[in-house]
């Protein structure tokens, strides 16, 4: 058959030969001479060689043969111009590496499904009501759900918490016994937990790959060894493979089975604490919507909420399931990375274009000896593909290196007391990353190689062979590319400066209180009542000068809102309200502006008095003295507004300044009401401490007291207040660093692009400049000529960039209102323009200098 055994070229040649002979026979029979007949037969047949070539080219493997030729040819060309290859590969590799890093992180947190059996059937159980929602349940709710075998084929309960292991903080997952059986992650060593571990005998524990590395240096003999968790010995029965790190985006260190030691399943706290996350596999044939409907009754029992309550059963096949909202939020970030890649492509495109024009004579020769234009384009694109492939590999290596560097930088810049508890999802280079790199390289090839290739194939044959080059269209394209690069650079530089300015401003902003020397102690999880005995024990320690209790520490949460009115029935103002002990104000060095501080007896008795912030005083009694006035607490309405149980009115005894109590980017509070409390009060949920000096935080004292008094020391989160402040500024600073990196890369690329174009056009205009100089142009005039050209590119690009940035930032600042953030920042715009213009001057400097050194006699003579 024709498909399986193709005719050889020789067989076809035989057939053509036979054809000619038959035709000669026929013509001779008609009376022609042998000589005439042969000529006529050839004439009738046409070009024999061309026919054979055409036959050859119809081979199904022809494309491969031509690809081989193109690759060989491209490879030879690359070997002959190493500088060209190095520049283009490096430029592209940087661009590809940046987007690959962004994609790898995105993949690790969003795209990559959990490395378990059938991740697609995994659903997370949650609830939603009119103003709130949640995903944490009591252990007995888990047990109730587990009985719903009509809906679920497996239900998994997991509670994450911090434990200490030989004085190191580690993240443990307290899991239901069916966890490993139901999920089926690959084990590196030993076994997972199972029903055999019921009863909690022997304290089995399973390590994650990260913990195995960190704690045991990947020693296989770790199996069977003991690990200390909160002072109890657990036996390591297995190590999970590196691809599974738990059902969440924060990798777990150790998995332990649920047992009374961690979470009393029944009675006492176990019935109250909502700390268990529930994940389930839907039974075959049951949809998520059906399950949601069937669970409503169970949810109202589990949550105690009734208004508009409904269950949520959402697919959870990866740590963060991809959604349209997520893409909307992330798309500007990706856009910034892609812009840098496009700049890199524009640069390479420019170099390729120059090269294509330099090769126009070669192209003309190839076209004139019979290559089709399509074939020439294919040849050039193949060369581009070769470069993109090399650059793609280099980019992947660069991305892996860059990601390691970024991870190190991330951990070393995180506030010191937070860093030990932060775990990053494993950055795996799976097939998605490789496919992405491949696709992006291919797309880049189209971006940088196709345009020059098409350009090159359009040359006028006669002109090119005679030595004229048709570069007019090419030069316009190159100018557009450079202007585009400048535009991208200015966008990214302005963004980087805006982010950096905001980060610096936020870092230096006045919170309204003094964080120096202050330690915050919060209870992890829900057992807030544990703060009370700790506060009492700490107050007795001589190393601590001041101890205050609060219902929520500043910078950690905004606290609850209450409906406050200046008189019963008057207009309410939703105001943050915090219970604080009398030591709160001196501890944070907040002076009482008017009136007096809380008295100890008021704190003990929970008196109905209040200290209000200046903003609240203004809001409730504008222009009036607030001292002695009464705040009426009205019925709560609106989201997050809660009743203040046991209080109906509060008498104002003093005023203080406004502070930032919640999230720093939102700025100072719109007001605040402080109500007195003591360590014995049910509102004492968190502790603030001040040491004897501003330098020495009372951390060791806290650790001593905690260890002495509590069996589970890691139930408390001890953090210097200054570090919480740093932690809040951190995302903005990190964004500023990334923005600076992207801006710098884009700037360097556009400078080199501009430099390339100026140098190239200079070489084209040597003759013209020679004539100008011969006619008396001064070197200043020539410099001006080059600078003007440079300014034209930069000016157009900068104008486009400015308009785009201004529009984007205006839109963004209309969408989000954060008091402490200035998006349309004149200084940032000025800095952006300044930096980019300076850069274009730098790019133009060398070509301009070279232009002034043109010798008119020499150029005019040599150019014939």
């Amino acid at each position: 058959m024709a498909i399986f055994s193709r005719r050889t070229d020789d067989d076809f040649a035989d057939e053509v030969q036979a054809h000619l002979e038959l035709e000669v026979d026929r013509l001779m029979a008609d009376g022609m001479s042998a000589e005439e007949a042969r000529a006529a037969a050839r004439r009738a047949f046409g070009n024999v060689t061309r026919a054979k070539e055409r036959f050859h080219e119809t081979s199904p493997w022809m494309w491969l043969e031509q690809l081989g030729q193109d690759l060989r040819y491209g490879w030879r060309g690359m070997r002959h111009s190493p500088a060209f290859v190095a520049t283009t590969v490096l430029t592209l590799a940087v661009g590809l590496a940046l987007v690959t890093v962004a994609f790898t992180i995105f993949n690790a947190y969003v795209l990559r499904p959990f490395a378990i059996r059938d991740p697609g059937s995994l659903h997370q159980i949650g609830w939603r009501s009119r103003d709130s929602g949640g995903r944490h349940f009591r252990w007995r709710d888990y047990e109730d759900l587990q009985r719903r075998t009509d809906l679920f084929s497996a239900v998994i309960g997991e509670r994450t918490r911090v434990a200490s292991s030989s004085d190191r903080s580690i993240m443990i997952a307290v899991v239901s016994l069916n966890y490993f059986e139901a999920l089926g992650p690959a084990m590196a060593l030993g076994r997972g937990l199972g029903s055999a571990d019921a009863g909690g005998d022997g304290n089995p524990a399973v390590l994650s790959d990260q913990a195995w590395s960190r704690l045991f240096d990947r020693d296989p003999s770790a199996l069977g060894r003991a690990i200390d968790l909160n002072g109890r010995a657990f036996t390591i029965v297995g190590v999970v493979g590196p691809s599974f790190t738990g059902l969440g985006d924060m990798p777990r260190d150790v998995f332990v089975p649920v047992s009374p030691a961690w979470d009393p399943p029944h009675g006492g706290a176990g019935d109250r604490l909502r700390e268990t996350e529930i994940t389930a596999r839907l039974q075959r044939g049951v949809t998520a919507t059906q399950a949601e409907r069937a669970l409503t009754a169970l949810m109202s029992e589990a949550t105690g909420v009734c208004a508009g309550l409904r269950a949520e059963v959402r697919p959870q096949s990866s740590p963060n399931v991809l959604s349209a909202e997520m893409l909307v939020v992330l798309s500007p970030v990706f856009a910034a990375f892609v812009l840098v890649l496009i700049t890199a492509c524009a640069n390479v495109s420019n170099v390729m274009l120059a090269r294509a024009i330099a090769r126009s004579r070669e192209m003309a020769v190839r076209l004139s000896i019979g290559a089709s234009r399509g074939r020439v384009v294919r040849q050039l694109v193949t060369e581009g593909l070769l470069i993109a492939l090399v650059a793609g590999c280099a980019g992947l290596a660069l991305a892996a290196w860059g990601l390691r560097l970024a991870t190190t930088a991330f951990f070393s810049t995180l506030p010191a007391s937070v860093a030990p508890l932060v775990r990053l999802a494993p950055m795996t280079y799976d097939y998605r990353v490789f496919l992405f790199a491949l696709a992006v390289s291919a797309a880049a090839t189209v971006l940088f190689a196709l345009l020059p290739a098409v350009q090159a194939s359009r040359i006028s044959l006669t002109g090119a062979l005679r030595g004229q080059d048709a570069s007019r269209r090419g030069s316009r394209l190159r100018s557009a590319l450079v202007a585009g690069q400048v535009a991208v650079a200015i966008v990214l530089v302005i963004l980087a400066v805006t982010l950096a300015n905001n980060g610096a401003a936020l870092g230096a902003s006045d919170l309204g209180f003094d964080t120096n020397g202050v330690l915050s102690v919060n209870v992890r999880g829900e057992q807030d009542e544990l703060a009370r005995p700790l506060a009492e024990a700490l107050a007795a320690d001589p190393r601590i000068s001041l101890v205050a209790v609060t219902s929520g520490n500043p910078l950690f949460n905004q606290g609850v809102l209450v409906a406050a009115a200046p008189a019963p029935g008057a207009t309410i103002t939703r105001t943050p309200c915090t219970f604080v002990s009398p030591e709160f104000f001196p501890l944070l060095r907040m002076p009482i502006v008017r009136g007096r501080a809380f008295r100890a007896d008021e704190a003990r008795s929970g008196a109905s008095v209040a200290i209000v912030s200046a903003a609240t005083a203004r809001a409730l009694w504008p222009g009036d003295d607030p001292i002695g006035k009464t705040i009426s607490l009205e019925r709560p309405s609106g989201p997050n507004v809660e009743p203040l149980t046991g209080y109906s009115t509060l008498t104002v005894v003093g005023t203080v300044g406004d502070i930032v109590s919640g999230i720093m980017v939102t700025g100072r509070d719109s007001g605040h009401i402080y109500v007195p409390a003591s360590p014995a009060s049910p509102h004492a949920n968190a502790i603030l401490l001040r040491g004897r000096t501003d330098r020495d935080l009372p951390t060791p004292a806290v650790q001593d007291v905690v260890k002495r008094t509590f069996p589970d020391p890691e139930v408390f989160e001890v953090l210097p207040l200054g570090e919480m402040r740093a932690l809040q500024v951190y995302p903005l600073l990190a964004a500023a660093w990334v923005g600076t990196l992207l801006g710098a890369v884009a700037l360097v690329l556009s400078v080199s692009g501009l430099y390339g174009v100026l140098t190239y056009t200079l070489s084209q205009r040597t003759k013209e400049i020679g004539i100008r100089m011969a006619l008396g142009a001064t070197s200043g005039a020539v410099t001006g000529l080059i600078l003007r050209q440079s300014a034209r590119f930069a000016g157009i690009g900068a104008a486009i960039g400015l308009v785009v940035t201004f529009g984007a930032l205006r839109t963004l600042s209309a969408a989000i209102t954060l008091q402490a953030i200035t998006l349309v920042d004149v200084a940032a715009f000025a800095a952006g323009i300044g930096v980019v213009l300076a850069a274009t001057l730098v790019a133009a400097w060398q070509p301009a200098r070279r232009a002034t050194r043109i010798d008119p006699c020499l150029t005019l003579r040599t150019d014939t």
């Binding site: 053509v16 038959l22 006529a40 009738a44 070009n47 024999v48």
Partner: protein
């Protein structure tokens, strides 16, 4: 450049795109034939009106062979020369029926549109 075979007189017509295939199939109805024979047969049966570029015949033959409408086999010609003979297959015969009816409809329609020959050409 285009006139490769014989004198290009005004009564000879270059083949329209796509017509060569159906002509080849039609010629092969009379029995197996080699390339040169097919070229000659087309020219002769059209009373030398249709002009066949012998070189262009072969891509068409390859195309038809790839479609399995014709098969080929080396054999010996009437005057004892080795030649590659093409034979119409069953599928080729069906294709010919379809194609010819299409061409007939097309040429009828063309004739109707162009009208009687008295019109100014």
């Amino acid at each position: 450049m285009k006139t490769r075979s014989g004198p290009d007189t005004s009564d000879q017509l270059a083949l329209l795109q796509g017509t060569l295939d159906v002509l080849i199939l039609r010629i092969l109805v009379f029995g197996p034939q080699h390339g040169q024979g097919i070229a000659r047969a087309i020219q002769d049966s059209s009373d030398d009106v249709l002009l066949v570029d012998h070189g262009a015949l072969y891509p068409a033959l390859q195309r038809l062979e790839a479609q399995n409408w014709i098969t080929a086999k080396w054999g010996t010609s009437a005057n004892n020369r080795r030649a590659r003979f093409y034979t119409l297959t069953r599928a080729g015969r069906e294709e010919l029926v379809q194609q010819s009816s299409r061409w007939r409809r097309l040429s009828d329609a063309m004739a109707r549109v162009l009208g009687p020959e008295t019109a100014n050409g």
